[in-house]
Amino acid sequence: MILWFTVVQLAVAVSAGLFCLIMGFAGKRPNDWTVGSLALVELLLVVQVVMAIVSPFAGNPALGDPLEYGVYLVSAVLLPIGGVVWALLERSRWSTVILGVVALSLAVMIWRMQVIWTTPVGG
């Protein structure tokens, strides 16, 4: 992982999470902006997948356990898909809150991935 890109992902995921939570508790149903914010987080995660594959060949290998990193990354990529589907089964304010919960969960996972990538095993 590359630190500045991780920071971008974190900023987007946290912003999306807070945005969706606020919109949800304000009674708004999912709209293009709230769902779109999750789509943006997902897009960045897909880019992250490509980067994670290419990075070791570019001199930036994962210092932590690649299995743990991979499990986190795959989980992070799948979560918005399942989360958005679950949220949109019902079009209510709680659906928007769900989007926010998913985005904040992704922020935590992204942060964990950065730690795993940069922390040597056993450290």
Binding site: R29, D65, L67, E68, V71, Y72, S75, L78, L79, G82, G83, W86, A87, L89, E90, R91, S92, R93, W94, S95, V97, I98, V101, V102, S105, M109
Partner: protein, 165 residues
Amino acid sequence: MSTARPTTPSDSSQPEGSSAAPTRPRMRGIGRVLVIVYAVMALGATGRSFVQIARAFDQAPLAYTLSAVSAVVYIVATLALIWSGRPGWYRVAWVAIVFELAGVLIVGTLSLTHPALFQHQTVWSQFGLGYVLIPLFLPMAGLWWLVVHRPSGRVPAAAPEEAAA
């Protein structure tokens, strides 16, 4: 926490194309938020448990077995909550969430009184402190949900679903 159901028009009692009998309360509103939190915990616990067991089971078999058990409990709780409108799954949800609460409290306490047993982190160590105490409060929220949202009526002798079908 208000238990009033959201009254948005989309929350009409029509089953969304499913064959659920209208007497069953659907998983709706804030309950769906509960489910997604459970699902995220299940996802995280499963992933972590998988990696722990694959990598280093010998190092801490008790802690890692607990990780696996907690992952299973979260998965079962998630599914049972989704289907908790049916009496059978409602009972499963009760069992799973009570087990989860007991797990958090017991493992949490032991991790503080007998830290040697839990040198490797599990979801329930220190009452879920590593997960911002979500593992501690989540089962309480789950039990609240189950208490407030019983499936309508006891398991009837003549199932109303047959009459409504």
